[in-house]
Every structure is written in structure tokens, then in C-alpha cells.
């Protein structure tokens, strides 16, 4: 069986303007969303308390909201988590004196005030996460640094193994992928957590993997078709690795779909980020990273 039975000769380069406009449009959308509503930072970054509870039956969200508003905790978010019995309570960072020690005890207070709503069995405390403001800031810095450092190291590695213009293309493609994935999180206001950052870095890894495979082929074709124009070389290279790109994306997406469907709620956003990242990464290695080499090439000459 073959996905692509004949040797393809798709003129990817001809579509580059369309692809660039498409990408720029998506990135603009991301930036606008980031500017207007920003990211929905999880407690890893903003600080605060998260409590996951399971009720014996469907959780009475209205009554829970009422019970918790009596505790006077400020901004409280209550949401169903995966199934009707399970809820997630997010409490923002508490201000004022002794806030930290109070916050650390919050989970018990929340459980105590909700136990009555759950009948005799009481609620089950499934998960508690508390991140103090100081740690939240550190985690933010660390997250940003992780992304920056990996970019720099990758830039250096690609520049060393290939040429500088390839390195620019690779890093631009990565920024493209990151901007769109982060924009997606902003647009849908999905919770942005430490685990999502891990997923983003993995997306960087995957997308780069894809880009490198295409670049490797471009380099090879450059040797083989020395006399030909760069446009033709790039087209030839992308076409020749097209089957591989599609097959690998397909296998990865197969497992990611399994993860999204069966991996449970806790891992859901992580898997979703990877899923989106694989799609964007595959697209960018063909339509962004490769034409970038051409663009850099023209300027170089």
C-alpha cells in the first residue's frame, strides 16, 4: 500500500505566497487574541489553589458555588472536569497578610464546606495544587527561558550542520508554530499550565524533526541538481520526502488521538497541544521552513 503511488510533482513553492498570507493571518489572529484576552494562565504561573473533587453523584454546581461564595475567597472558578461527578475548583491568589499559609490550608476549608453537599459519603479529594506567587513567577521565567534556550541551541546546531540560512528558516518555522499553538490556547481560553509548556517544547522538537528531514533532502538535491534553480531543488526535495512526512504525521496523530480519547482528563490538554502542534509543525516544515530557505537564498546572493 502506498499513500502516494506516483512520484509527485506538486509545485509547493508556487503556493508560498498563499501559504505565507495564511500563516501571517493565523499569527495575527494569535497576536490579537493574546493582546485582547491574553492567556488563561493556570495556577502554575499565576499562583493560587486548584482542588479537584469527586462527588458520589453528579456534582451540584449551583450549590457548590453558593457554599464557596460564603468562604469569601475572591475569584473562584468552578468547572466540571471530564465527568459530571468530578469538579475542579480554582481559587485565585489570596492577597494580604498570612496569605500564603491560609492558602495552603484552603483545600481543607473547601472540602469541609462542601462535604455537607455530598451526603453521607462526603466528597473525595482527588487532587490539590497550590502554587505560591513567588514560585509562580519563577516557573514563568523558567518556562520562557526553556523555550528561548532551546531555540538558541537549535539555531546553533542547524547553522553548524547545515548553513546559516537554513538555521534562520528553522527557527522562524518554530516561532511560527509556537505563535499559532499559543494563540490557539489564548483564543479558546484553555488553561495554560506547566504541562502545556512541556507540550510546546515537544512540539518544537517534533516540528524541528520534520523540518530537518526536509532540509536534509534539500541539501542532498542541491548537490545532485547543482545547475538547477533553487525553486526547483526545493520543490523536488519536498516532493521526495512528502510520503515520509505524511506517514510519520499519521502514525503520530494516531497515537495522539488515542491519548485524547482514552488518556483521561488530566492529560487532555497536553495531548491536544501536541495534536495541534503536529499538524502545524508538519504544515510549517513544508510551507514555511522550505520557502524561507529560498527567501534567505535570494537575499544572500
Amino acid at each position: 500500500m502506498e499513500l502516494i503511488t506516483k512520484k509527485t510533482h506538486i509545485d509547493f513553492i508556487r503556493w508560498r505566497k498563499l501559504a505565507f498570507s495564511f500563516s501571517i493571518g493565523l499569527i495575527l489572529l494569535s497576536l490579537i487574541s493574546l493582546g485582547v484576552q491574553g492567556l488563561n494562565y493556570g495556577i502554575d504561573f499565576s499562583g493560587g489553589t486548584l482542588v479537584q473533587l469527586r462527588f458520589p453523584g453528579p456534582a451540584p454546581v449551583g450549590e457548590i458555588r453558593k457554599a464557596l461564595s460564603d468562604l469569601d475567597l475572591g475569584d473562584v472558578v468552578i468547572q466540571e472536569f471530564g465527568r459530571p461527578e468530578e469538579i475542579l475548583v480554582r481559587v485565585e491568589r489570596q492577597e494580604g497578610q498570612e496569605a500564603s499559609s491560609n492558602q495552603a490550608q484552603l483545600a481543607q476549608r473547601i472540602v469541609a464546606s462542601l462535604n455537607g453537599l455530598a451526603g453521607e459519603e462526603g466528597v473525595e479529594l482527588r487532587r490539590v495544587e497550590f502554587v505560591g506567587p513567588q514560585v509562580g513567577e519563577e516557573l514563568t521565567t523558567k518556562g520562557i527561558m526553556a523555550v528561548l534556550y532551546s531555540m538558541i541551541v537549535i539555531l546553533a546546531y542547524v547553522a553548524w550542520r547545515f548553513e546559516l540560512r537554513f538555521a534562520y528558516g528553522a527557527v522562524l518555522a518554530l516561532i511560527h508554530d509556537l505563535a499559532i499553538t499559543v494563540g490557539f490556547f489564548s483564543l479558546l481560553q484553555k488553561e495554560f499550565t506547566l504541562v502545556v509548556v512541556a507540550a510546546l517544547l515537544t512540539v518544537i522538537g517534533y516540528s524541528l524533526n520534520d523540518t530537518i528531514v526536509v532540509y536534509d533532502r534539500i541539501r542532498e538535491e542541491m548537490k545532485r541538481l547543482k545547475k538547477e534553480p533553487m525553486t526547483l531543488i526545493i520543490n523536488e526535495a519536498v516532493n521526495r520526502v512528502l510520503a515520509r512526512t505524511l506517514v510519520t504525521s499519521l502514525t503520530t496523530i494516531l497515537v495522539l488521538v488515542a491519548l485524547i480519547l482514552f488518556g483521561g482528563e488530566v492529560i487532555h490538554d497536553f495531548a491536544l497541544t501536541l495534536f495541534l502542534g503536529v499538524l502545524v509543525g508538519t504544515y510549517s516544515s513544508i510551507f514555511v521552513a522550505s520557502p524561507m530557505v529560498l527567501l534567505m537564498d535570494r537575499k544572500g546572493r
Binding site: 515537544t202 517534533y206 494516531l254
Partner: protein, 529 residues
Amino acid sequence: MRQLPLWKPLLILGIALTSLFYALPSLLGGVDEEWPSWLPNQVILRGLDLQGGLYLLLHVETDKAVEQTAENLVDEVLGVLREKRLRHLGVKRAGISAVEMRLSKGSDPEEVRKVLRDEFPDLLLEDMAEGAGIRLAITPDKQKEIKGFAVEQSIQTIRSRIDQFGVSEPTIQKQGQERILIQLPGLQDPARAKALIGRTARLEFKMVDEKGDLATALDGRVPPGDVVLYGDQQARDGSTYQQPYLLKKRTVLTGAYLSDARVNFSAQYNEPQVLVSFNRQGARKFAQITANHVNERMAIVLDGRVYSAPVIQERIDGGRASITGRFTTDDAHDLAIVLRAGALPAPVKILEERTVGPTLGRDSVEQGLASILIGGALVLVFMALYYRGFGLLANIAVLLNILILMAALTFLQATLTLPGIAGAVLLLGMAVDANVLIFERIREELHLGKTPLAAIDHGYSKAFSTIMDANITTLITAVVLYQFGTGPVRGFAVTLSIGLVASMFTAIFVTRVVLALAMRNRPFAKLSI
């Protein structure tokens, strides 16, 4: 290709068997008592998110330890001045690290300075502005030492508390200058453990100021040398209220003199109480204090809260006292633990806490495993359909890859986390990538009209550098991830790195050798690809 050195298949067989050897307990889901002792019995270490437990990041408020040292210094200076019969107008703590004293007109500043210099050679002696007095300061070096010691001692105290509480594999580590990281896997009652760890447990005995007026003190006019502290009291109707006490600031005895603390039940009401025993020095002091203060009340203060303030009936010999309060048995038990383990030299603050209940951990494992099995099966089926014979070859490589990954995780005792499982799932997808690259190359070569043998040779050699470049860049992100990540993210990075290296080995080396073995007797006329 045609000559296959014997060491190659032997190496693969060796690695496969070794991996199986180490992965076996994990594959079987744990070992029981009948498990033969010559087989390894370690299973993959599951992170807190998979087995439940408590993760705490504590900040030791080391400034408080310095402050406490300065506070003790006040007493010492007073003692020295009294001993040498030097007159003064009071000694008090200034800031967190210094003591200031005002001299009376009659005393000679030179003489005081000389005495202080002799008694406290490692302190900084300064004159205060306009000759108002003398200031003794703890040097910055000494402060640093106190702070470092406070963190070390906190770790020891916390460890001994946890040991007595009974947690199987606790991790307690110093992090940076002032932080302590605690991980308690498989914990059933995280709230209780947290309370136990975070408690300063500073036990103090203070005398009640029987002459002072509590009412005026509550209005804000606290007599000098006194302090107002509160304790829970039960009203007749059963509700609790805050009972204020006017106490002498001076602590007559501290928990440092305890030799033991046990739970027993009061003879009168059969309520749990904590019986503390003093060491010899403490017992002597306790006897002396009780003898001097018969018919006065002595308050038992723990972490600034008054537990009880019984009237001393007579001199108490034997060095025992009991702490009562309306404890549950667990409360009393935990209090005994913290008193035995000793006080923290400085209070600790929880900076970060992550608790995963045991049931959530179990669910995560089940769901993680289910998604791995389903996702893995999908990939295997796809590869077999798409590449036929070669697809089966790639599947052998992927299965071996998983086995190696499991063995490596077990052997290194690296922690498998939920993102780690996701990483493994992702790896399944990416692991076939190297094979896909090779197989697509072989197909290309076949299209060009090469013979099967030449196509295989060229396919492998041409794909090699691509595979290296692609995997090394991913490895770079994994290393960065490890450097900057914490907990679950690190677990993910480890899984990803091991998996990448294993997949390079299986995809490039193993498949080739298996292929060569299959072709040894009868070279293929046509490739099943």
C-alpha cells in the same frame, strides 16, 4: 550485508534478554513473595501523579532563626551585665540581628565594652549615635552560618518526623539556599502529613503574670516584659472561644530540654493527652521553677498558642509534665511526634504544594496504559498494512524499543510520570519515523530500478544522516526540558531521551541485522515493501 558478523545478532539478543530481565517485574505489574530472588524485583518508579502522594516545596524563614539568636542574646547580655554588676538602662533586640543597650550615667562605657568584647568575641561591637549606648551585632558571616544551619536542622527534624509518621520512600532535599523539597509517594492522608511537617513545634513554658491586669493589657497597655497570648477554650455550651492570657515574656523552659513525648489517656476523663519527659538538666530546671512559683499558673505554649495554664500545686520532681487540650487521638499522636523530633529552628512556609489522591493516581495509570495500548496497536497495524513485510520488521523494532525503555526506566529508577506516559505514546509515533525514512528511501531506490540488495544498502546509508540530525535536535529539546523542568516535566524529558536513543538503535541497527538474518540463505528476489 552478505557477511553478517556473529557479534551483531548476539549483541541484539543480549540487549533484548537483558531488557526483558529488568522489565519483567514491571511487565507483570509487580512481584509477590514467591518471586525468585535471583530475578530483579524493582519495578518502574511511578511519579506522585501516578501513585498519589504529596509534593511540597518549603521556604525556611531563616531570618527568624537569626532573630531568635538575637533574642537569646538579649538574655545572655543581661546575664553577663548582672554577673559583672554593670549598671544599665535596659537591653533590647534591635532589628533582626542586633542587640542594643542603654548605659546608665554611673557606668563606664569603656569597662562595659571590654566585658562585652571578652564575653562575645565573635560579635560586632559598635557605639550608637551620640553615645546613647552600645550595639552588639551578629556578623554577616555568622548570620549566614545560622541560616545554613537552620535549613540543615529543619531537614533533619522534618526527616525524623516523617520517619516516625511512617512513609515508605520519602525524598527530602535541600533546594537552593533556603528551600526544602519533600516528596512523599503513596501517602493516604496528605493533609495530616502536611500539618505534621509544617508545624514549628516550639514548646515554651511561661509564667502567667498574676499581678498584671489583663483588661488594661487587652486595651493595648501591656506591662513591660509581658505578652498577651491566646488559647482555645471551651464554653459551657460546647462552642470554643479565644481565651487571652497575660504572660511573662521570658520563657522559663523550652522543648529543647525534652527527652521524650508519649500519648496517654488522662485518668479523669480518659481523654488523650501528651506526656512529656524532660532530660536531667530539664528536670532539674523544672523542679526549681515549680518550687519557686507554687500557687502560680504556668502556661504551656506551643507555637505561640496557649494549650493550658495549670496552677502549680507543689514542686514537681521527676521531670514530667502533661499537655492537655481537647485532642483527638491522632492529634495527640502527631503532637507527640513533633515534640520528640524537636522544634524547627525557624518557621517554614509552603511555597508550592501538589497532592494527588490515590484514586486519581490509579485512574491515571489505567487511562495512560489504555491509551498506550490502543495507540500502539493502531500504529503496529498501520505499519503492517502499509509496509507489509518491512512493516512487521519495523514493528519488531518498536516492540523492542518499548522493552528497552521499560528496562532503562527500571534500571535507572527514573520516575515515570503522567506526561512521561504521554511522552512514551508520542515516541511510539516518532519511533517508527526512522523506519519510515529508511523504507521510503528503499522504495525510491526500487523505483529507480535498483536490485533489492542495493536498494536496501542505499536506503539505510542515505537515511542515516537524516535520522541522526532529526533525533539529535529532538534530544536537544529534551535536555533543555530536563534542565528547566520540575517534577513531571523532568520525567517526561527522561522518557523522551531514553526513547530517542533506543529508537535510533532499534530502527537503524536492529532492523538491518534482522533483515540480514532473513536474507542469509536466500536473498529476496522481490521486497515486501
